[in-house]
Protein backbone atom coordinates (compact mmCIF):
# COMPACT_ATOMS: atom_id res chain seq x y z
CA UNK A 1 0.00 0.00 0.00
CA UNK A 2 1.38 3.39 -1.01
CA UNK A 3 0.73 5.92 1.71
CA UNK A 4 -0.16 9.53 1.06
CA UNK A 5 2.46 11.77 2.70
CA UNK A 6 -0.16 13.99 4.33
CA UNK A 7 -1.89 10.95 5.91
CA UNK A 8 1.44 9.74 7.25
CA UNK A 9 2.11 13.17 8.72
CA UNK A 10 -1.35 13.22 10.30
CA UNK A 11 -0.81 9.77 11.87
CA UNK A 12 2.59 10.88 13.20
CA UNK A 13 1.09 14.08 14.65
CA UNK A 14 -1.70 12.15 16.35
CA UNK A 15 0.72 9.61 17.79
CA UNK A 16 2.91 12.42 19.14
CA UNK A 17 -0.09 14.15 20.72
CA UNK A 18 -1.20 10.89 22.38
CA UNK A 19 2.34 10.24 23.66
CA UNK A 20 2.46 13.77 25.09
CA UNK A 21 -0.88 13.24 26.91
CA UNK A 22 0.27 9.90 28.37
CA UNK A 23 3.58 11.37 29.53
CA UNK A 24 1.78 14.39 31.02
CA UNK A 25 -0.61 12.11 32.95
CA UNK A 26 2.24 9.93 34.27
CA UNK A 27 4.40 12.94 35.18
CA UNK A 28 1.61 14.81 36.97
CA UNK A 29 0.71 11.62 38.87
CA UNK A 30 4.32 11.14 39.95
CA UNK A 31 4.68 14.82 40.94
CA UNK A 32 1.49 14.62 43.03
CA UNK A 33 2.71 11.45 44.77
CA UNK A 34 6.10 12.99 45.52
CA UNK A 35 4.77 16.43 46.50
CA UNK A 36 2.07 15.39 48.98
CA UNK A 37 3.77 14.28 52.20
CA UNK A 38 3.21 10.65 53.08
CA UNK A 39 1.48 9.84 49.78
CA UNK A 40 4.53 8.06 48.37
CA UNK A 41 4.73 5.78 51.42
CA UNK A 42 0.98 5.12 51.21
CA UNK A 43 1.30 4.22 47.54
CA UNK A 44 4.31 1.98 48.15
CA UNK A 45 2.50 0.21 50.99
CA UNK A 46 -0.59 -0.10 48.79
CA UNK A 47 1.55 -1.71 46.08
CA UNK A 48 2.97 -4.12 48.65
CA UNK A 49 -0.56 -5.06 49.81
CA UNK A 50 -1.74 -5.39 46.20
CA UNK A 51 1.09 -7.71 45.21
CA UNK A 52 0.71 -9.75 48.40
CA UNK A 53 -3.05 -10.17 48.02
CA UNK A 54 -3.10 -10.77 44.27
CA UNK A 55 -2.19 -14.50 44.45
CA UNK A 56 -4.81 -15.06 47.18
CA UNK A 57 -7.50 -13.27 45.14
CA UNK A 58 -6.57 -15.22 42.00
CA UNK A 59 -6.76 -18.45 44.00
CA UNK A 60 -10.21 -17.56 45.36
CA UNK A 61 -11.45 -16.56 41.89
CA UNK A 62 -10.18 -19.87 40.53
CA UNK A 63 -12.32 -21.59 43.15
CA UNK A 64 -15.36 -19.78 41.78
CA UNK A 65 -15.62 -16.89 44.29
CA UNK A 66 -16.89 -13.68 42.65
CA UNK A 67 -14.17 -11.06 42.15
CA UNK A 68 -15.52 -8.50 44.62
CA UNK A 69 -15.80 -11.08 47.42
CA UNK A 70 -12.40 -12.54 46.51
CA UNK A 71 -10.95 -9.03 47.01
CA UNK A 72 -12.89 -8.25 50.17
CA UNK A 73 -12.09 -11.52 51.94
CA UNK A 74 -8.31 -11.05 52.43
CA UNK A 75 -8.90 -7.45 53.59
CA UNK A 76 -11.44 -8.64 56.16
CA UNK A 77 -9.16 -11.44 57.37
CA UNK A 78 -6.20 -9.04 57.58
CA UNK A 79 -8.31 -6.50 59.49
CA UNK A 80 -9.42 -9.17 61.92
CA UNK A 81 -5.92 -10.56 62.41
CA UNK A 82 -4.45 -7.06 62.90
CA UNK A 83 -7.11 -6.03 65.41
CA UNK A 84 -6.69 -9.27 67.36
CA UNK A 85 -2.90 -9.33 67.16
CA UNK A 86 -2.45 -5.61 67.79
CA UNK A 87 -3.94 -6.09 71.23
CA UNK A 88 -1.11 -8.47 72.12
CA UNK A 89 1.76 -7.37 69.89
CA UNK A 90 1.18 -3.61 70.27
CA UNK A 91 1.19 -4.01 74.05
CA UNK A 92 4.34 -6.08 73.87
CA UNK A 93 6.12 -3.63 71.56
CA UNK A 94 4.97 -0.57 73.56
CA UNK A 95 6.13 -2.26 76.74
CA UNK A 96 9.50 -3.11 75.24
CA UNK A 97 9.85 0.33 73.62
CA UNK A 98 9.06 2.12 76.92
CA UNK A 99 11.46 -0.08 78.80
CA UNK A 100 14.10 0.49 76.12
CA UNK A 101 13.54 4.26 76.34
CA UNK A 102 14.02 4.14 80.14
CA UNK A 103 17.12 2.00 79.81
CA UNK A 104 18.58 4.03 76.93
CA UNK A 105 20.84 6.31 79.09
CA UNK A 106 22.18 3.19 80.80
CA UNK A 107 23.14 1.70 77.44
CA UNK A 108 24.65 4.93 76.19
CA UNK A 109 26.73 5.40 79.36
CA UNK A 110 27.65 1.73 79.36
CA UNK A 111 28.79 2.05 75.77
CA UNK A 112 30.81 5.17 76.64
CA UNK A 113 32.36 3.34 79.64
CA UNK A 114 33.30 0.43 77.43
CA UNK A 115 35.06 2.82 75.11
CA UNK A 116 36.84 4.55 78.03
CA UNK A 117 39.55 1.91 78.53
CA UNK A 118 40.93 1.89 75.00
CA UNK A 119 40.44 5.66 74.79
CA UNK A 120 42.46 6.26 77.98
CA UNK A 121 45.24 4.03 76.71
CA UNK A 122 45.21 5.94 73.44
CA UNK A 123 45.17 9.28 75.28
CA UNK A 124 48.22 8.28 77.33
CA UNK A 125 50.08 7.30 74.21
CA UNK A 126 49.15 10.48 72.36
CA UNK A 127 49.14 12.85 75.36
CA UNK A 128 51.85 15.19 74.17
CA UNK A 129 49.99 15.77 70.91
CA UNK A 130 46.25 15.63 71.43
CA UNK A 131 43.42 14.73 73.81
CA UNK A 132 41.27 11.79 72.75
CA UNK A 133 37.70 11.60 74.15
CA UNK A 134 35.91 9.22 71.81
CA UNK A 135 33.73 7.79 74.60
CA UNK A 136 32.35 11.17 75.70
CA UNK A 137 31.83 12.34 72.16
CA UNK A 138 30.05 9.12 71.19
CA UNK A 139 27.88 9.32 74.32
CA UNK A 140 26.85 12.92 73.67
CA UNK A 141 26.16 12.18 69.99
CA UNK A 142 24.06 9.14 70.88
CA UNK A 143 22.23 11.10 73.59
CA UNK A 144 21.34 13.89 71.15
CA UNK A 145 20.36 11.43 68.44
CA UNK A 146 18.19 9.34 70.76
CA UNK A 147 16.50 12.43 72.25
CA UNK A 148 15.81 13.74 68.76
CA UNK A 149 14.33 10.41 67.76
CA UNK A 150 12.11 10.21 70.85
CA UNK A 151 10.86 13.77 70.22
CA UNK A 152 9.96 12.83 66.67
CA UNK A 153 7.96 9.75 67.69
CA UNK A 154 4.52 11.51 67.95
CA UNK A 155 4.97 12.94 64.42
CA UNK A 156 5.99 9.54 63.11
CA UNK A 157 3.00 7.86 64.74
CA UNK A 158 0.49 10.33 63.24
CA UNK A 159 2.15 10.02 59.83
CA UNK A 160 2.26 6.24 60.20
CA UNK A 161 -1.44 6.07 61.10
CA UNK A 162 -2.56 8.20 58.14
CA UNK A 163 -0.35 6.13 55.84
CA UNK A 164 -1.67 2.95 57.37
CA UNK A 165 -5.29 4.02 56.87
CA UNK A 166 -4.83 5.30 53.32
CA UNK A 167 -2.77 2.35 52.00
CA UNK A 168 -5.47 -0.37 52.29
CA UNK A 169 -8.01 1.95 50.60
CA UNK A 170 -5.62 2.52 47.70
CA UNK A 171 -4.80 -1.19 47.56
CA UNK A 172 -8.50 -2.13 47.48
CA UNK A 173 -9.15 0.12 44.49
CA UNK A 174 -5.94 -0.98 42.78
CA UNK A 175 -7.15 -4.58 43.03
CA UNK A 176 -10.75 -3.83 42.10
CA UNK A 177 -10.30 -1.29 39.31
CA UNK A 178 -6.61 -1.76 38.47
CA UNK A 179 -7.31 -3.51 35.18
CA UNK A 180 -9.86 -0.90 34.06
CA UNK A 181 -7.53 1.98 34.96
CA UNK A 182 -4.65 0.23 33.20
CA UNK A 183 -6.78 -0.35 30.10
CA UNK A 184 -7.95 3.28 30.02
CA UNK A 185 -4.35 4.48 30.27
CA UNK A 186 -3.28 2.06 27.56
CA UNK A 187 -6.06 3.27 25.26
CA UNK A 188 -4.24 6.63 25.18
CA UNK A 189 -0.90 5.12 24.17
CA UNK A 190 -0.09 5.73 20.48
CA UNK A 191 -0.45 2.68 18.20
CA UNK A 192 3.24 2.56 17.27
CA UNK A 193 4.27 2.16 20.93
CA UNK A 194 1.30 0.16 22.17
CA UNK A 195 2.73 -3.37 22.04
CA UNK A 196 6.10 -2.24 23.46
CA UNK A 197 4.36 -0.48 26.35
CA UNK A 198 2.06 -3.44 27.00
CA UNK A 199 4.94 -5.90 27.03
CA UNK A 200 6.93 -3.60 29.29
CA UNK A 201 4.07 -3.13 31.72
CA UNK A 202 3.46 -6.87 32.07
CA UNK A 203 7.18 -7.49 32.60
CA UNK A 204 7.40 -4.74 35.24
CA UNK A 205 4.26 -6.05 36.91
CA UNK A 206 5.65 -9.58 37.05
CA UNK A 207 9.10 -8.52 38.26
CA UNK A 208 7.77 -6.10 40.88
CA UNK A 209 5.31 -8.68 42.23
CA UNK A 210 7.98 -11.34 42.51
CA UNK A 211 10.44 -8.88 44.03
CA UNK A 212 8.07 -7.59 46.72
CA UNK A 213 6.90 -11.10 47.67
CA UNK A 214 10.48 -12.41 47.77
CA UNK A 215 11.80 -9.52 49.90
CA UNK A 216 8.94 -9.76 52.38
CA UNK A 217 9.42 -13.52 52.66
CA UNK A 218 13.11 -12.89 53.25
CA UNK A 219 12.37 -10.29 55.95
CA UNK A 220 9.87 -12.64 57.61
CA UNK A 221 12.34 -15.55 57.69
CA UNK A 222 15.17 -13.35 59.02
CA UNK A 223 12.85 -11.83 61.66
CA UNK A 224 11.66 -15.25 62.78
CA UNK A 225 15.16 -16.77 63.00
CA UNK A 226 16.47 -13.72 64.94
CA UNK A 227 13.45 -13.83 67.26
CA UNK A 228 13.89 -17.57 67.92
CA UNK A 229 17.64 -17.16 68.47
CA UNK A 230 17.40 -14.16 70.81
CA UNK A 231 14.42 -15.63 72.66
CA UNK A 232 16.26 -18.88 73.37
CA UNK A 233 19.33 -16.93 74.56
CA UNK A 234 17.13 -14.76 76.78
CA UNK A 235 18.08 -11.36 75.37
CA UNK A 236 15.77 -8.48 76.42
CA UNK A 237 13.51 -6.70 73.84
CA UNK A 238 13.41 -9.84 71.62
CA UNK A 239 10.33 -8.81 69.61
CA UNK A 240 11.56 -5.24 69.09
CA UNK A 241 15.01 -6.42 67.98
CA UNK A 242 13.59 -9.11 65.66
CA UNK A 243 11.20 -6.55 64.11
CA UNK A 244 14.10 -4.13 63.61
CA UNK A 245 16.26 -6.88 62.04
CA UNK A 246 13.40 -7.91 59.71
CA UNK A 247 12.75 -4.31 58.60
CA UNK A 248 16.40 -3.37 58.08
CA UNK A 249 16.89 -6.60 56.14
CA UNK A 250 14.86 -4.94 53.37
CA UNK A 251 17.94 -2.76 52.73
CA UNK A 252 20.30 -4.88 50.62
CA UNK A 253 23.87 -5.47 51.89
CA UNK A 254 23.88 -2.77 54.61
CA UNK A 255 20.57 -3.73 56.22
CA UNK A 256 21.69 -6.94 57.97
CA UNK A 257 24.63 -5.10 59.61
CA UNK A 258 22.43 -2.22 60.78
CA UNK A 259 19.88 -4.73 62.03
CA UNK A 260 22.39 -6.63 64.15
CA UNK A 261 23.96 -3.58 65.85
CA UNK A 262 21.31 -2.92 68.57
CA UNK A 263 21.20 -6.56 69.75
CA UNK A 264 24.98 -6.85 69.96
CA UNK A 265 25.36 -3.43 71.66
CA UNK A 266 22.73 -4.40 74.26
CA UNK A 267 24.52 -7.68 74.99
CA UNK A 268 27.85 -5.83 75.12
CA UNK A 269 26.65 -3.11 77.50
CA UNK A 270 24.82 -5.58 79.73
CA UNK A 271 28.32 -6.93 80.44
CA UNK A 272 27.22 -10.33 79.29
CA UNK A 273 29.91 -12.97 79.06
CA UNK A 274 31.83 -13.24 75.83
CA UNK A 275 30.04 -16.52 75.11
CA UNK A 276 26.66 -14.83 75.40
CA UNK A 277 27.68 -11.95 73.13
CA UNK A 278 28.94 -14.50 70.62
CA UNK A 279 25.61 -16.34 70.86
CA UNK A 280 23.67 -13.14 70.14
CA UNK A 281 25.93 -12.41 67.18
CA UNK A 282 25.55 -15.98 65.96
CA UNK A 283 21.73 -15.68 66.06
CA UNK A 284 22.01 -12.79 63.59
CA UNK A 285 24.66 -14.69 61.64
CA UNK A 286 22.45 -17.79 61.44
CA UNK A 287 19.57 -15.68 60.09
CA UNK A 288 21.91 -14.23 57.46
CA UNK A 289 23.28 -17.67 56.59
CA UNK A 290 19.78 -19.05 56.01
CA UNK A 291 19.04 -15.92 53.98
CA UNK A 292 22.22 -16.16 51.88
CA UNK A 293 22.28 -19.95 51.42
CA UNK A 294 18.58 -20.67 50.87
CA UNK A 295 16.35 -17.62 50.39
CA UNK A 296 18.50 -15.40 48.15
CA UNK A 297 19.63 -18.08 45.64
CA UNK A 298 16.24 -19.74 45.48
CA UNK A 299 13.98 -16.70 45.49
CA UNK A 300 15.60 -13.27 45.16
CA UNK A 301 18.59 -13.71 42.82
CA UNK A 302 16.43 -14.84 39.90
CA UNK A 303 14.38 -11.67 40.05
CA UNK A 304 16.84 -8.75 40.21
CA UNK A 305 18.77 -8.38 36.99
CA UNK A 306 21.41 -5.97 38.32
CA UNK A 307 25.14 -6.40 38.89
CA UNK A 308 26.15 -6.31 42.60
CA UNK A 309 28.29 -3.18 42.03
CA UNK A 310 25.31 -1.46 40.39
CA UNK A 311 23.16 -2.47 43.39
CA UNK A 312 25.60 -0.85 45.84
CA UNK A 313 25.84 2.36 43.78
CA UNK A 314 22.06 2.48 43.42
CA UNK A 315 21.57 2.05 47.19
CA UNK A 316 24.03 4.88 47.93
CA UNK A 317 22.23 7.17 45.45
CA UNK A 318 18.84 6.13 46.92
CA UNK A 319 20.01 6.92 50.46
CA UNK A 320 21.25 10.34 49.35
CA UNK A 321 17.91 11.22 47.75
CA UNK A 322 15.34 9.68 50.12
CA UNK A 323 17.15 8.26 53.14
CA UNK A 324 16.14 4.80 54.41
CA UNK A 325 13.06 4.67 52.14
CA UNK A 326 15.36 5.44 49.20
CA UNK A 327 17.65 2.58 50.21
CA UNK A 328 14.71 0.15 50.27
CA UNK A 329 13.09 1.19 46.99
CA UNK A 330 16.24 2.04 45.01
CA UNK A 331 16.90 -1.52 43.79
CA UNK A 332 13.41 -2.23 42.35
CA UNK A 333 13.28 1.28 40.84
CA UNK A 334 16.70 0.78 39.17
CA UNK A 335 15.61 -2.65 37.99
CA UNK A 336 12.47 -1.17 36.39
CA UNK A 337 14.45 1.66 34.78
CA UNK A 338 16.83 -0.90 33.30
CA UNK A 339 13.87 -2.88 31.94
CA UNK A 340 12.33 0.26 30.36
CA UNK A 341 15.65 1.31 28.83
CA UNK A 342 16.36 -2.19 27.42
CA UNK A 343 12.86 -2.57 25.98
CA UNK A 344 12.87 0.82 24.23
CA UNK A 345 16.43 0.31 23.02
CA UNK A 346 15.42 -3.06 21.49
CA UNK A 347 12.37 -1.43 19.92
CA UNK A 348 14.50 1.29 18.31
CA UNK A 349 16.98 -1.36 17.06
CA UNK A 350 14.01 -3.39 15.70
CA UNK A 351 12.70 -0.37 13.79
CA UNK A 352 16.13 0.58 12.40
CA UNK A 353 16.89 -2.96 11.25
Amino acid sequence: MILDGSIQKKIKRENLAKLFIVLAIITSGLVAILAIPGLLTSFLLAFVITYLFKPIIVYLERKGVRQIFAILLPFLVLGLVISLASHYIANLITEQATSFQTDLPKYINGFADTLKKPTNALSKALLPYTKVDVGERAASWMQNYATGMIQKIPDWISQFLSTLLLAPFLAFFMLKDGLTIRRSLFSLIPNNLFEVALNLSSQINKQLGQFIRARLLEALIVGLVVWLGLYSIGTPYTTLLALFAALTNLIPYLGPIIGAIPGIVIAFVNHDSFGLIALVASAYLLAQLIDIVFVIPLVVARIVNLHPVTVVIVIVVGSQIMGILGMIISVPVASILKLIFTEFYNHVVDIRS
Binding site: M1, I7, R183, S187, N346
Partner: protein
Amino acid sequence: MNYLWDNIFRRQERQQDVKSILSNNFLFRNLNKRELSLAQTLVHIRRYRTGEAIFRQNESGVGMYIIGKGRVEISIFDDSTGSKQNEKEIVVTTLEPGDFFGEISLVEETSIRSATARAAEDCVLVGFFKSDLVEILDRSPEAGIKIIFRLAEVLGRRLKETTDKISQLKKEIRMIGEMQEVTRDPRRIHPEKN
Protein backbone atom coordinates in the same frame (compact mmCIF):
# COMPACT_ATOMS: atom_id res chain seq x y z
CA MET B 1 -8.76 14.12 19.66
CA ASN B 2 -12.00 12.22 19.13
CA TYR B 3 -10.79 9.20 21.04
CA LEU B 4 -10.90 11.11 24.33
CA TRP B 5 -14.62 11.89 23.98
CA ASP B 6 -15.39 8.45 22.58
CA ASN B 7 -14.15 6.90 25.82
CA ILE B 8 -16.73 8.78 27.87
CA PHE B 9 -19.92 8.74 25.82
CA ARG B 10 -19.89 5.47 23.93
CA ARG B 11 -18.59 3.05 26.52
CA GLN B 12 -21.77 1.00 26.97
CA GLU B 13 -22.30 0.61 23.24
CA ARG B 14 -18.68 -0.39 22.71
CA GLN B 15 -18.77 -2.97 25.49
CA GLN B 16 -21.70 -4.66 23.73
CA ASP B 17 -19.74 -4.50 20.46
CA VAL B 18 -16.69 -6.10 22.05
CA LYS B 19 -18.80 -8.84 23.62
CA SER B 20 -20.41 -9.71 20.31
CA ILE B 21 -17.02 -9.61 18.49
CA LEU B 22 -15.56 -12.00 21.06
CA SER B 23 -18.53 -14.36 21.16
CA ASN B 24 -18.46 -14.65 17.35
CA ASN B 25 -14.74 -15.28 17.23
CA PHE B 26 -13.47 -18.83 16.76
CA LEU B 27 -11.12 -18.66 19.79
CA PHE B 28 -13.72 -17.42 22.27
CA ARG B 29 -16.81 -19.20 20.92
CA ASN B 30 -16.79 -21.94 23.58
CA LEU B 31 -16.69 -19.55 26.54
CA ASN B 32 -19.75 -19.19 28.76
CA LYS B 33 -21.22 -15.82 29.73
CA ARG B 34 -19.05 -15.33 32.81
CA GLU B 35 -15.84 -16.37 31.03
CA LEU B 36 -16.70 -14.06 28.16
CA SER B 37 -17.15 -11.16 30.58
CA LEU B 38 -13.71 -11.87 32.04
CA ALA B 39 -12.17 -11.88 28.54
CA GLN B 40 -14.03 -8.66 27.76
CA THR B 41 -12.46 -6.88 30.75
CA LEU B 42 -8.99 -7.82 29.52
CA VAL B 43 -8.97 -7.10 25.78
CA HIS B 44 -7.89 -3.76 24.29
CA ILE B 45 -9.79 -1.80 21.64
CA ARG B 46 -7.48 -0.12 19.15
CA ARG B 47 -8.31 2.25 16.28
CA TYR B 48 -6.14 2.61 13.19
CA ARG B 49 -6.27 5.06 10.32
CA THR B 50 -6.09 3.95 6.69
CA GLY B 51 -2.50 3.02 5.90
CA GLU B 52 -1.35 2.93 9.53
CA ALA B 53 0.83 -0.06 10.47
CA ILE B 54 -0.62 -2.34 13.15
CA PHE B 55 2.69 -4.17 13.38
CA ARG B 56 5.67 -4.54 11.08
CA GLN B 57 7.56 -7.58 9.85
CA ASN B 58 10.54 -8.53 12.11
CA GLU B 59 9.22 -6.53 15.07
CA SER B 60 8.67 -8.52 18.26
CA GLY B 61 5.00 -9.27 18.87
CA VAL B 62 3.00 -10.01 22.01
CA GLY B 63 -0.46 -10.89 20.79
CA MET B 64 -3.24 -11.12 18.25
CA TYR B 65 -5.90 -8.81 16.83
CA ILE B 66 -9.52 -9.48 15.86
CA ILE B 67 -10.97 -7.17 13.22
CA GLY B 68 -14.11 -5.46 14.52
CA LYS B 69 -14.49 -2.96 11.68
CA GLY B 70 -12.56 -2.27 8.49
CA ARG B 71 -10.08 -4.31 6.45
CA VAL B 72 -6.45 -5.20 7.16
CA GLU B 73 -3.77 -5.97 4.59
CA ILE B 74 -1.10 -8.52 5.43
CA SER B 75 2.10 -8.02 3.47
CA ILE B 76 5.67 -9.26 3.38
CA PHE B 77 8.88 -7.66 2.15
CA ASP B 78 10.02 -8.77 -1.27
CA ASP B 79 13.76 -9.21 -0.72
CA SER B 80 14.34 -10.82 -4.16
CA THR B 81 15.81 -7.54 -5.41
CA GLY B 82 18.79 -8.09 -3.12
CA SER B 83 19.04 -4.48 -1.99
CA LYS B 84 17.35 -3.13 1.09
CA GLN B 85 16.42 0.16 -0.55
CA ASN B 86 14.47 -1.51 -3.35
CA GLU B 87 12.50 -3.71 -0.97
CA LYS B 88 8.76 -3.65 -1.66
CA GLU B 89 5.79 -4.77 0.40
CA ILE B 90 3.85 -7.55 -1.35
CA VAL B 91 0.26 -7.91 -0.15
CA VAL B 92 -0.32 -11.56 0.74
CA THR B 93 -3.93 -11.30 1.84
CA THR B 94 -6.63 -8.87 2.91
CA LEU B 95 -8.62 -9.68 6.03
CA GLU B 96 -12.25 -8.75 6.71
CA PRO B 97 -14.27 -8.03 9.90
CA GLY B 98 -14.35 -11.14 12.15
CA ASP B 99 -10.95 -12.37 10.91
CA PHE B 100 -8.02 -12.49 13.28
CA PHE B 101 -4.23 -12.42 12.86
CA GLY B 102 -0.98 -12.56 14.84
CA GLU B 103 -2.22 -15.40 17.06
CA ILE B 104 1.09 -17.32 16.91
CA SER B 105 2.72 -14.73 19.19
CA LEU B 106 0.31 -15.75 21.95
CA VAL B 107 2.22 -18.99 22.41
CA GLU B 108 5.76 -18.19 21.23
CA GLU B 109 8.36 -17.36 23.90
CA THR B 110 9.91 -14.50 21.91
CA SER B 111 7.79 -13.92 18.90
CA ILE B 112 8.96 -12.04 15.79
CA ARG B 113 6.27 -10.87 13.38
CA SER B 114 6.59 -12.72 10.08
CA ALA B 115 4.58 -10.14 8.11
CA THR B 116 3.40 -6.54 8.24
CA ALA B 117 -0.24 -5.79 9.07
CA ARG B 118 -1.60 -2.47 7.82
CA ALA B 119 -5.06 -0.92 7.98
CA ALA B 120 -6.50 -0.95 4.44
CA GLU B 121 -9.24 1.40 5.68
CA ASP B 122 -10.10 2.98 9.04
CA CYS B 123 -10.18 0.01 11.44
CA VAL B 124 -11.34 -0.95 14.89
CA LEU B 125 -9.44 -3.94 16.25
CA VAL B 126 -9.78 -5.95 19.43
CA GLY B 127 -6.32 -6.80 20.75
CA PHE B 128 -5.79 -9.92 22.85
CA PHE B 129 -2.28 -10.35 24.22
CA LYS B 130 -0.07 -12.89 25.95
CA SER B 131 -0.44 -11.18 29.34
CA ASP B 132 -4.25 -11.30 28.93
CA LEU B 133 -4.14 -15.03 28.16
CA VAL B 134 -1.94 -15.62 31.23
CA GLU B 135 -4.39 -13.60 33.35
CA ILE B 136 -7.32 -15.71 32.09
CA LEU B 137 -5.36 -18.93 32.74
CA ASP B 138 -4.63 -17.70 36.28
CA ARG B 139 -8.11 -16.53 37.16
CA SER B 140 -10.20 -19.02 35.23
CA PRO B 141 -8.12 -22.00 34.06
CA GLU B 142 -11.19 -23.60 32.44
CA ALA B 143 -11.70 -20.59 30.19
CA GLY B 144 -7.97 -20.41 29.49
CA ILE B 145 -7.86 -24.06 28.44
CA LYS B 146 -10.87 -23.59 26.15
CA ILE B 147 -9.06 -20.71 24.42
CA ILE B 148 -5.79 -22.63 24.20
CA PHE B 149 -7.52 -25.68 22.67
CA ARG B 150 -9.09 -23.47 20.04
CA LEU B 151 -5.76 -21.74 19.48
CA ALA B 152 -4.05 -25.11 19.05
CA GLU B 153 -6.72 -26.04 16.53
CA VAL B 154 -6.09 -22.86 14.54
CA LEU B 155 -2.32 -23.33 14.62
CA GLY B 156 -2.74 -27.01 13.66
CA ARG B 157 -4.94 -26.04 10.72
CA ARG B 158 -2.42 -23.41 9.61
CA LEU B 159 0.35 -26.01 9.89
CA LYS B 160 -1.64 -28.48 7.80
CA GLU B 161 -2.30 -25.80 5.17
CA THR B 162 1.41 -24.93 5.11
CA THR B 163 2.38 -28.62 4.84
CA ASP B 164 -0.07 -29.09 1.97
CA LYS B 165 1.31 -26.01 0.26
CA ILE B 166 4.90 -27.23 0.69
CA SER B 167 3.94 -30.68 -0.70
CA GLN B 168 2.25 -28.98 -3.64
CA LEU B 169 5.31 -26.80 -4.25
CA LYS B 170 7.63 -29.81 -4.00
CA LYS B 171 5.47 -31.62 -6.55
CA GLU B 172 5.60 -28.60 -8.85
CA ILE B 173 9.37 -28.30 -8.46
CA ARG B 174 9.78 -32.02 -9.24
CA MET B 175 7.61 -31.63 -12.35
CA ILE B 176 9.59 -28.59 -13.49
CA GLY B 177 12.81 -30.55 -12.93
CA GLU B 178 11.51 -33.46 -15.00
CA MET B 179 10.39 -31.11 -17.77
CA GLN B 180 13.82 -29.47 -17.82
CA GLU B 181 15.47 -32.88 -18.11
CA VAL B 182 13.16 -33.78 -20.97
CA THR B 183 13.94 -30.59 -22.88
CA ARG B 184 17.66 -31.31 -22.40
CA ASP B 185 17.31 -34.99 -23.56
CA PRO B 186 14.49 -35.46 -26.16
CA ARG B 187 15.26 -39.22 -26.42
CA ARG B 188 13.39 -39.72 -23.14
CA ILE B 189 10.14 -38.85 -24.94
CA HIS B 190 10.81 -40.71 -28.19
CA PRO B 191 13.04 -43.67 -27.27
CA GLU B 192 12.03 -45.58 -30.52
CA LYS B 193 13.96 -42.95 -32.53
CA ASN B 194 17.19 -44.48 -31.23
